[in-house]
């Protein structure tokens, strides 16, 4: 039998478009316009899952984002999605879905036998057992983990992509029901920029399932016209299928649009989902209200549904999810389910209304249809396993707290319940506003607005269509005015809408049972987490009195539905158990995301190669063409080394180092930060931010400088050159470039604005290439004819203007290798050309490109530090034996100076920068090895320092290392031990940190 529950007419489905789909391996048919849930119900599928803890059979109970049971595994393979709510998934042809729990099959569930032991699993049972012995917990945990969890994550990378849109608007409307649409319309008419988003596939909200006349016409006509008009306005963005997942500070909202999920498992083209990052001047929350179920015994058996969901399935999808209905309600709205059921031609057994009486319009209509109404009654318990087969209806007291009469049992297969309506306060909670309980509407409403926020419609407890539409228009107009559009006067007349007579609703959260709560069959509050009324009472009995404790102890509201159905009932049950009012007990706070949001959609296009910028120098392609292996330094890609075919890292490294020492090497140093400083106070400014003295640095000269933080610790270093008396160029480390500029601006702008100095980053403007080695001058001489390269005319630590390969260049004679070196700076547009010219010129000297690794070795041989490798934010210039670059006689107390005098920086046993030579000269100490004086001491050992840099030095034919060692200078010549993880202990002797050319002659040749 196919679609046995589908009506012949009605609904917002297209019967001409039949869609095949599967669930749990069975194939079914549905129609376009269906959700997976409506299609399953149409086909009479009762059981869609098993509960998390007790493994009980569960069926669909709701029709939207509140659904706790109908959670499925959608699709297969790399595009599968776990935990999709069947009630929100639009049906498409070929949809494949499976239950997320139930082993080995949904019908025969082994786990349910465990569920029978449910009495052993009250809330908190984990905390009370599985303790002994400690090491067995990992075994218990293994099985607990296996049993827990709903669906499965894909096991391959996502084939789809996601993106983001930044949106700005004057008025943001959340919710596309009658209130939201009216608000958007009124705001839009003022000319304001409006965005309206709704999580459903079409706008309309309540009007999609409910009809009333507006201005004498059918409300569905009004709805169609309203949506058409909004769509036609250029200042309005209408976003269906879009869930506002969070409401953040300063009226920033994030909404996720599902662009292709209704079409198939995978996005055929474009991005699967898009997050809209919305900055709104005014926000209107018209998110509506969520029907609350009544809690009673065995209320989780398939066939127990929300009354509004029954109505929705009939009206919107033309599906009647059963044959014999009993309604249990505490208000008028529950009657609608019976009315529609009856109109659909199926049997209504009766309506159990907990109230003594109601004169509402719906009550009258139900009675007119001949439906039995039992006032003062409620469904106390249902019976059934895989489907309800009977309901016990009891007379209950006016207070709703006890059974006062006989219990009658009726056969039925469906029980629709309505305990009232809970406003959807989630988004206002996100802003930090606590919801406020209102006895008159029996629900929490949004608390005081903390931002430019308005609420309208049933989110404020106003369910009458007239209130929603009129209130919406007024609120939209008012919000627009506050955003600067219009004067708040309505630009349209309010439509004529009749108010429906309505009986007063009753506050009923738990239908009493003949047995007390702890002994009655399970009365479920939170279906997804198997939280029962008894569990909540137990929590309070055990002393968990705060509602947050109750929530945490029982796990109420921690499911994927975030307690949309259960929370209010649970809080009310807890309050009663504590003898407090709901107001006193309060509520827990909802957090983003309103409904679960795809990770990928929140990440957007910051993925794969766009995850983070890759920064390149102008010479990058040459490095690629010449086989460079790259190293990530911040966002930069720097050549690490250039292996020739078959070469290992160490072979390439030795070759690069030796070539530089013996002839000439070339390095792309363009990534070093470069800051241009101009102004008459530039020297004074440098005096203040560097340890060094700059007053006497002559034009044409360069000097190495150290920059400290105010705590006296080394922050950055680099060479600064004097271009003119009022013009300097500062270099920084590659990684520190941006931070140093910000640091300099900080001091200039906030402390010393009187200093006349301007700073600009020129890092990207210059390509910087260093040629280094005894033949560097000869190479340069071939391509540079307008600078006198004579060693006396152009000395070490000087710079000259000129041209290289015909290109205007600034040449610095500075050295990080200890060899004769020139750092050639040209406009980056010319960088590759000049680089290639140097390579060409250097051919006769076998000029060798070297990467950062060789650069590290070459400088280590000279004992030059690398900030961030040899320093770690806890060392001073004195620790690094660099007192020579501290200007002690400067008038101004430079940044960091005062901190030298603190007790800790003065103490004798600070770590000091030293060299190390291993006893076995072939053995290279690992960087990060820890030093001890006595390797035989017991653990914990006393460590006295660590290796900061360590290499095999090809030119020295042995290993070398740099380290910081407590009182290292005093202990020169002594042996330290380095116990390693692999059990080896390496011995090394403390030595000077300059290993090669200690007199520094080679750079001066």
């Amino acid at each position: 039998m196919s679609q046995q529950n589908r009506l012949a007419q009605g609904g917002r489905i297209d019967r001409n478009r039949v869609l095949n789909f599967s669930f749990a391996g069975q194939t079914y048919k549905g129609y376009e316009g269906d959700t997976l849930a409506s299609a399953l119900l149409a086909n009479g599928v009762d059981v869609v899952g098993r509960s998390f803890k007790y493994s009980r059979a569960r069926g669909i109970t709701g029709h939207g984002s509140e659904e706790p049971n109908g959670v499925v595994q959608l699709g297969t393979g790399d595009s599968t999605v776990p935990n999709v709510r069947a009630t929100q998934q639009e049906l498409y042809s070929g949809l494949v879905s499976n239950p997320v729990a139930g082993w080995p099959s949904l019908q025969f569930d082994l786990m349910s036998y465990l569920g029978k032991a449910g009495a052993m699993m009250p809330p908190g049972f984990y905390y009370k057992t599985f303790m002994y012995p400690q090491k067995l917990w990992m075994t218990y945990e293994h099985f607990i983990r296996k049993a827990a969890g709903l669906g499965k994550a894909p096991t391959a990378p996502d084939p789809d992509t996601y993106d983001k849109f930044n949106q700005h608007c004057d008025v943001m409307v959340v919710g596309g029901g009658p209130a939201g649409l009216s608000a958007a319309y009124a705001a839009a008419k003022t000319g304001a920029r409006v965005i309206i988003a709704d999580e459903q596939s079409e706008m309309g909200g309540h009007l999609l399932t409910f009809e009333q006349t507006i201005n004498g016409q059918s409300s569905s006509l009004w709805l169609a016209e309203m949506v058409a008009e909004l769509n036609a306005m250029s200042n309005v963005k209408v976003l269906p299928k879009t869930t506002v997942m969070g409401y953040f500070d300063h009226n920033f909202l994030v909404a996720i649009e599902r662009r292709t999920d209704h079409l198939g498992e995978r996005a055929v083209s474009g991005t699967r989902q898009r997050s809209h990052r919305i900055r709104a001047k005014q926000v209107i929350l018209a998110a509506g209200a969520q029907e609350r179920p009544l809690v009673f015994a065995n209320n989780d058996v398939p066939g127990v549904m929300l009354a509004s969901s029954v109505t929705t399935y009939i009206k919107r999808y033309a599906v009647v999810p059963g044959h014999n209905l009993i309604v249990s309600t505490a208000n008028d709205s529950g009657y609608l389910a019976a009315i529609e059921w009856s109109k659909a031609g199926r049997n209504v057994v009766g309506i159990a209304d907990s109230r003594p009486h109601s004169d509402g319009a719906l009550v009258a209509e139900a009675k007119a249809l001949g439906i039995d109404v039992w006032f003062g009654h409620g469904v106390m318990e249902v019976k059934g396993g895989r489907r309800v087969y009977s309901a016990s209806v009891a007379a209950i007291s006016a207070e709703g707290d006890r059974i006062i009469g006989d219990v009658k049992t009726y056969d039925c297969d469906t029980v629709a319940t309505s305990g009232g309506w809970s406003p959807v306060v989630h988004l206002s909670c996100h802003t930090g506003s606590r919801p406020v309980w209102r006895d008159d509407i029996i629900g929490f409403v949004p608390g005081k607005a903390l931002q430019a926020q308005h609420c309208v419609g049933s989110i404020m407890g106003d369910h009458q269509l007239a209130d929603c539409v009129h209130g919406g228009l007024e609120t939209g107009s008012k919000a627009a005015a506050q955003a600067g559009f219009g004067d708040g006067e309505l630009l349209m007349t309010k439509p004529d809408i009749e108010r429906l007579a309505e009986g007063k609703a009753q506050a009923l959260f738990l239908v009493p049972h003949k047995k007390n709560v702890s002994r009655a069959p399970k009365q479920f509050v939170d279906l997804q987490n198997d939280v029962t009324a008894a569990g909540i009472e137990l929590a309070t009995r055990e002393g968990f009195e705060s509602i947050e404790h109750v929530k945490r102890y029982t796990a109420m509201g921690f499911g994927t539905d975030q307690g949309k159905l259960g929370n209010v009932n649970g809080m009310a049950i807890a309050a009663r158990s504590l003898g407090k009012s709901i107001e006193e007990t309060g509520t827990t706070i909802f957090r983003p995301s309103y409904t679960p949001s795809t990770f990928g959609a929140l990440a957007g296009r910051d993925a794969d190669t766009l995850f983070d910028p890759e920064r390149y120098t102008a010479i990058h392609q040459w490095h690629i063409d010449n086989g460079a292996v790259f190293e990530d330094v911040g966002q930069w890609k720097r050549p690490w080394y250039y292996p020739q075919p078959g070469e290992s890292l160490s072979e390439a490294l030795n070759r690069e180092c030796l070539a530089t020492r013996n002839s000439v090497g070339i390095l792309d140093a363009s990534t070093l930060g470069k800051i241009d400083i101009q102004g008459k106070d530039a020297r004074e400014f440098l005096n203040r931010v560097y340890t060094n003295a700059w007053s006497k640095l002559a034009i044409g000269k360069c000097r190495y400088g150290l920059m400290l933080k105010e705590d006296g610790m080394i922050m950055d270093d680099g060479v600064t050159s004097c271009l003119a008396d009022d013009h300097f160029i500062v270099t920084t480390t590659t990684g520190g470039a941006a931070a140093v500029l910000e640091w300099l601006e900080l001091w200039h702008q906030t402390e010393w604005p009187e200093l006349e100095v301007y700073m600009s980053s020129v890092t990207d403007h210059w390509s910087t290439m260093t040629i280094s080695g005894p033949n560097a001058r000869k190479v340069l001489a071939k391509v540079c004819h307008d600078i006198d390269l004579d060693k006396e005319a152009f000395k070490f630590m000087e710079w000259r203007n000129g041209s290289v390969a015909g290109v205007t260049a600034r040449v610095f004679r500075i050295s990080f290798t200890g060899e004769l070196s020139y750092e050639i700076n040209v406009s980056a547009n010319d960088g590759l050309f000049v680089w290639e010219a140097l390579i060409e010129a250097g051919k006769e000297f076998s000029i060798t490109p070297y990467g950062t690794e060789a650069m590290h070795v070459l400088r280590a041989e000279k004992g030059f530090i690398i900030v961030g490798q040899d320093t770690d934010g806890s060392v001073t210039p004195y620790d690094m034996d660099m007192g020579w670059c501290v200007g002690k006689n400067k008038a101004f107390s430079f940044i960091g100076k005062r901190s030298f005098d603190r007790p800790d920086t003065q103490k004798a046993d600070r770590k000091q920068f030293v060299g190390l030579k291993t006893k076995n000269s072939d053995e290279v100490l690992p960087e990060g090895a820890q030093a001890v004086w006595d390797p035989k001491q017991a653990i914990p050992m006393t460590m006295v320092g660590h290796v900061t840099s360590s290499y095999y030095s090809a030119v020295l034919g042995r290993s070398i290392a740099l380290a910081v060692i407590k009182e290292g200078h005093k202990h020169k010549g002594e042996t330290l031990y380095f116990p390693l993880a692999d059990g080896r202990v390496i011995e090394a002797v403390i030595c000077d940190y300059v290993f090669y050319d200690p007199e520094g002659e080679r750079q001066n040749v």
Partner: protein, 208 residues
């Protein structure tokens, strides 16, 4: 998605020029133009770009600059001025970006230095950043994907802002109706380009 693979010299001839074979940051860009292109991209090669600093309260400075440029510096925040020879963009109080297509940066720098006295700075950043133009029917959407700034309503023609673009920072100028200047640091240019290729894919991208 070969457009996303990094850095190729496919079209070296483009945006390279002269005996010294200068190269713009995006000289390597090659792109299969879409048939129906709603996004149009161009890199304007080798513009002169100079950072000018000085006090807007200093009349001598303002007069000196005006003499060189032929018009007054835009001193109001986020404004710009264009002439036949120059674009000038307000960057920050006391900071402007001067851009010229047909004048050598050294010439501009020299003329400014000749006219200005006192506290000022001129810095040639021509090779440190590049000018891209973006236009087409879908330019708005592409910018909305990339910038948090309210380009649609807050960036009328003539206005200039420094703002974020994906994970980069750039100068964004609404040059003419529907046409935008993007001035990007050299080392981020390839990232911005690849981002644009990706963001434009659904609309169609043409490089002119």
């Amino acid at each position: 998605m070969s457009d996303l693979t990094t850095f190729e010299f496919a079209a070296r001839a483009q945006n390279t020029q002269g005996a010294t074979r200068r190269e713009t940051p995006l000289h390597h860009v090659s792109h299969q133009n879409a048939e129906a292109a709603a996004v149009v991209f161009n890199e304007v090669p080798f513009c002169a770009q100079l950072t000018l600093r000085g006090s807007p309260e200093n009349p001598d400075f303002l007069a000196g600059v005006e003499k060189v440029l032929g018009f007054a510096l835009p001193v109001q925040p986020l404004t710009s001025h264009a002439s036949d020879s120059y674009y000038v963009f307000w960057i920050s109080p006391g900071e402007w970006l001067i851009l010229a297509e047909n004048i050598e940066p050294a010439v501009i720098e020299a003329s400014l230095r000749a006219e200005l006295t006192g506290h000022f700075a001129v810095v040639d950043v021509s090779a440190g950043q590049t000018l891209m133009t973006l236009s087409g029917e879908a330019v708005q959407q592409v910018l909305q994907k990339s910038c948090g700034y309210d380009v649609e309503a807050s960036l009328p023609v003539g206005k200039v802002v420094t703002t974020t673009f994906a994970k980069a920072t750039l100068v964004l100028h609404h040059q003419a109706e529907g046409k935008y200047f993007l001035i990007v640091r050299r080392s981020f240019a390839d990232y911005v380009w690849r981002w644009l290729v990706d963001a434009s894919a659904e609309y169609g991208l043409t490089v002119v």
